[in-house]
């Protein structure tokens, strides 16, 4: 279900937001729109400006330039309480001296309607999967449970917008995976517009409807997880998201490049630069059962095979490309049909449909 197709309008719009701290530009003219009910992830390395952007939206910091509108109402300079959002921080910021119930009811008004609050708290605790935890204190809960309480507290007042600042980063891997799924399910059920900041690209791709990749205060790319992964529009996105092979190349035709002494064809257009870097995901490298003289096919020596559970990783040394290493990832099932031995020479196809070219010299 794509919200845009339902004709739903933009819930949150940012236009030309900039924020400088001294000589450091944390945010440089960032514009972004988030549709109602959408789950958007801000993804990027630390210092890329994603947290600054979240703080501007929350009203915890003010922009030097630009504007923010929530449901078509300008909130650029409004106090946090004049906006309509709930927030969950990485530290959860649960009030340690208040019980779980008091934490969740903290924002419920008016204060004296205890009975009504009790029902609402019970409803929220059921929703986040912690029934009966009302009388516990935060120190008595595990990290994952604290995270659920913080989420319940943020949702208690039924805000139109949910802001999540690295909410899963402080948890261990197993809890994180489970909570990620639950968070997504809850968000879809409630239909609350959600903006989450994360530096974990796997998490962003798994949970978001749309991912916003940020770097050095700018937005590099906005797209669905598949678009970000399959068609990274800049070298930065390609390097930051997922793993990739990088092959130095030179332009030799309209859609043809030279790598070592091989000629490769690309379906995508080439950037206007003499020196290129070719990009190819390891799972897109095809190891063929036998040699045939097809385009984009080279011979490579199997250097190493390492087992990795769902995928087996093969380190290849392509002939005619001195010093170049090529990684391929294949299902173990394929290896059952076509066993590989280190030292063996195999034909390898680098599919023209999957190859992308970026301008630049050396890869990282």
């Amino acid at each position: 279900m794509k919200p845009a197709e339902n004709g739903l309008s933009d819930h949150l719009t940012m236009h030309g937001l900039s924020r400088r701290f001294g000589s450091f530009t944390a945010l440089d003219a960032v514009s972004l729109s988030i549709r109602k009910g959408e789950f958007v992830c801000l993804l990027g390395p630390s210092g890329c400006g994603k947290t600054t952007l979240l703080r501007l939206i929350a009203g915890l910091d003010l922009p030097d330039a630009g504007s923010i509108a929530l449901q078509a109402r300008d909130i650029t300079r409004a106090a946090p309480a004049q906006r309509d959002y709930g927030i969950v921080f990485q530290s959860y910021a649960l009030f340690p001296n208040l019980s779980v119930a008091d934490n969740i009811a903290y924002g419920l008004k008016p204060r004296h309607e205890r009975q009504r609050h009790r029902l609402r708290v019970r409803e929220l605790l059921d929703m986040v999967g912690l029934p009966g935890a009302e009388d516990k204190y935060p120190a008595q809960l595990s990290g994952g449970q604290q995270q659920r309480v913080a989420l319940a507290r943020a949702l208690a007042t039924s805000p139109g917008l949910l802001l999540l600042d690295e909410p899963l980063s402080a948890l261990d891997a197993r809890v994180r995976d489970r909570l990620r799924e639950e968070l997504k399910g809850l968000q879809q059920r409630l239909g609350v517009t959600t903006l989450m900041v994360t530096h974990d690209q796997e998490e962003a791709l798994a949970i978001a409807d749309r991912v916003v990749v940020m770097n050095a205060g700018r937005i590099e790319q906005i797209g669905t997880p598949a678009e970000i992964y399959r068609q990274p529009c800049s070298r930065f996105v390609a390097e930051f998201v997922g793993e990739a092979n990088w092959l130095p190349a030179t332009t030799s035709g309209v859609q043809e490049v030279r790598v070592g002494n091989h000629q490769l064809r690309l379906d995508a257009a080439l950037p206007p630069a003499p020196a290129l870097q070719l990009f190819l995901r390891p799972e897109d490298v095809i190891i063929k059962p036998r040699w045939e003289n097809a385009p984009n096919t080279v011979l490579a020596r199997v250097d190493n095979i390492s087992f990795g559970g769902a995928l087996t990783r093969i380190r290849l040394l392509p002939e005619g490309m001195p010093g170049q290493v090529l990684y391929a990832e294949v299902c173990p099932g394929m290896l059952d049909r076509q066993p590989l031995v280190p030292g063996e020479i195999v034909p390898v196809e680098l599919p023209a449909a999957r190859l992308l070219a970026f301008a630049g010299d050396l890869s990282c």
Partner: protein, 568 residues
């Protein structure tokens, strides 16, 4: 007070939210105004007075020249300097030895020894002076030890000041010593360093900063203390007493102001040195440091016990002789028990009403002061924006550290006793004395509160704002309860300080509103040493009593709070 503010505000909606920001600004500037009134303006008036003649005309630096040409004042300055250096040189090794014995041994009862080491804090600086008079004065118990010498003079003052400054040095050095990283000692041992080499290359460098900072604090305290030289100084004149004589005795305000500025110098100098050092000092303890635990060694523990016994008994003697003498009929000829000295009927100084005033003052200072300090620290640490006001508030909060009580008292005389001041009528009242005490002890209290608040998650306020809960509700429901132990500490500190302090208040009290610590001076001046000892004992007992009461209260509250403090 809070709920009253709450009721005024319209609930929710735009008006309430705009009101929240307005209240924050109002609160901030109200606090700044209080501190300006109690601290900034009086200090400015000292500077103004120092360049005026007796009638208020501007005379430039004439007063300074006069002071420099006055042989009496110059002798007092050199005496003060000599005294400060001697006491600092003696108290640092003593306090260091005591702190080392407490923290680096495995002796039983270290908590008790710690309390003994800090016990001088409970007494006014007059207490050791009175004890010294009882021990070595003209009718002293141990007068023979002096072989015809006299306790009144330089060495008498040194001894009294040693007692008075010891706990201050001890606290700072203990903090420095307790920040020890066991990994450094392990590395030293593995590399073959003996105990002496470990001490010289690890322990001493680690506390260098603490030693210097303790030295600066002691030096400033000695220079500006007034009680000890007044009682056992004899002919040995010091600047602090001189300032008092000029202002209260001779009503020579301009010269008093110059002397006050002279006394401000060492404190300002210490502040500058401390700031420079703090910048160079790296964090002594990183997050990965292992706490140091001393290995068993009976030889070291025996040495430590000897040290604690020697210093502790000396401290107890200087505290205890005064207390004991207050219950004795006629020292040293008739040692029968009596409560007669506690009647105060036949002596000057205000007697029980002075004690009552002191109790009121200390209670009001503790209650109002801790409230003010906690609101101020919260505004400084937790509220967003208002950068200018907040840095002004922070500066004013740190300023009292550099202002000796004596100087502050002088400022109060010049500012509040000025005939043109609309608050002139306030002069000499209990309210003004409370303001003076709060201002005088503000820095330590503020730092305690700010440190506690800084340990709270910085995002509490952000979460509360997102839930549309105003900041004062969060202050009341979360910050204050979580910081309760620090709040109790601040209240205890303010109470004991207000009970024992003399230096600032002696300038602004009037005979109608006498205070316990001041009446000790009056009684001692009149030769009623036993009554003075009785009053000093009352002060010690009240301070100790309240400390005990608050400890009990803390334990009680702690039990109630255990539910959320303890996991599981």
């Amino acid at each position: 007070m809070l709920s009253a503010v709450l009721r005024w505000l319209p609930r929710g909606g735009q008006a309430g939210i705009a009101g929240e920001a307005r209240i924050a600004i109002l609160l901030l500037w109200a606090l700044v105004a209080v501190l300006l009134l109690g601290l900034g303006l009086p200090l400015l008036f000292i500077f103004a007075k120092a360049v005026q003649d007796g009638d208020g005309g501007f005379v430039g630096l004439v007063n300074f020249a006069q002071v420099l040409q006055s042989p009496g004042l110059m002798r007092a300055s050199s005496n003060s300097l000599q005294l400060g250096l001697t006491v600092t040189a003696l108290v640092l090794p003593l306090a260091f030895a005591f702190a080392w014995a407490l923290l680096r041994s495995r002796l039983w009862g270290r908590g008790l020894w710690r309390q003994i080491g800090l016990s001088p804090l409970l007494a006014p600086s007059l207490m050791p002076a009175i004890s010294l008079v009882y021990l070595f004065g003209n009718q002293g118990l141990l007068k023979d030890w002096l072989h015809g010498g006299n306790i009144y003079g330089f060495w008498g003052v040194v001894l009294g000041e040693l007692f008075y400054t010891f706990p201050h040095a001890l606290l700072i050095i203990m903090t420095a010593l307790s920040a020890a990283d066991a990994r450094l000692y392990e590395a030293g041992r593995v590399l073959g360093a003996g105990p002496l080499r470990q001490f010289l290359t690890i322990t001493l460098p680690g506390v260098r900063y603490g030693l210097v900072s303790a030295g600066l604090v002691v030096f400033t305290l000695v220079l500006t203390d007034f009680g000890v030289p007044k009682v056992v100084g004899g002919d040995f004149n010091v600047l602090a007493v001189e300032a008092f004589k000029q202002v209260i005795g001779q009503q020579n305000f301009p010269r008093g102001a110059v002397v006050g500025l002279l006394l401000l110098l060492p404190a300002i100098l210490s502040c500058l040195v401390e700031r420079r050092m703090a910048r160079r000092q790296q964090a002594a303890l990183t997050a990965r440091a292992q706490p140091f635990a001393p290995a068993p060694s009976w030889l070291r523990d025996a040495g430590a016990l000897l040290l604690l016994l020697a210093i502790g008994l000396l401290l107890l003697a200087l505290l205890g002789v005064g207390v004991a003498a207050s219950f004795i009929k006629y020292w040293p000829y008739n040692l029968d028990f009596t409560l007669a000295h506690y009647q105060f009927d036949t002596v000057d100084g205000g007697g029980w009403s002075a004690y009552g005033n002191s109790l009121q003052l200390a209670t009001a200072t503790a209650v109002l002061g801790s409230l003010l300090v906690f609101v101020g620290a919260y505004v400084c640490e937790k509220l967003p924006g208002m950068a200018l006001g907040r840095s002004l508030l922070r500066f004013l909060a740190m300023l009292p550290m550099a202002v000796p009580g004596l100087v502050l008292g002088l400022g109060y005389v010049f500012f509040f006793n000025h005939p043109a001041n609309p608050l002139h009528g306030w002069y000499g009242s209990l309210g003004l004395m409370v303001l003076c005490c709060i201002a005088h002890f503000y820095t330590t209290a503020h730092l305690t509160a700010a440190t506690a608040l800084k340990q709270l998650d910085g995002e509490f306020e952000a979460v509360a704002a997102s839930l549309k809960v105003p900041f004062w509700v969060t202050w009341w429901r979360v910050s204050l309860p979580v910081c309760l132990p620090a709040l109790v500490d601040v209240a205890r500190f303010l109470f004991v300080s207000a009970m024992t302090t003399l230096s600032a208040l002696i300038f602004i009290m009037t005979p109608e509103h006498s205070l316990a610590a001041v009446s000790i001076i009056t009684m001692d001046d009149a030769g009623d040493t036993a009554a003075a000892a009785a009053m000093a004992t009352l002060v010690v007992l009240s301070s100790a009593g309240l400390s005990l009461l608050l400890s009990l209260l803390e334990r009680l509250l702690g039990r109630r709070n255990q539910r959320w403090r303890k996991p599981g």
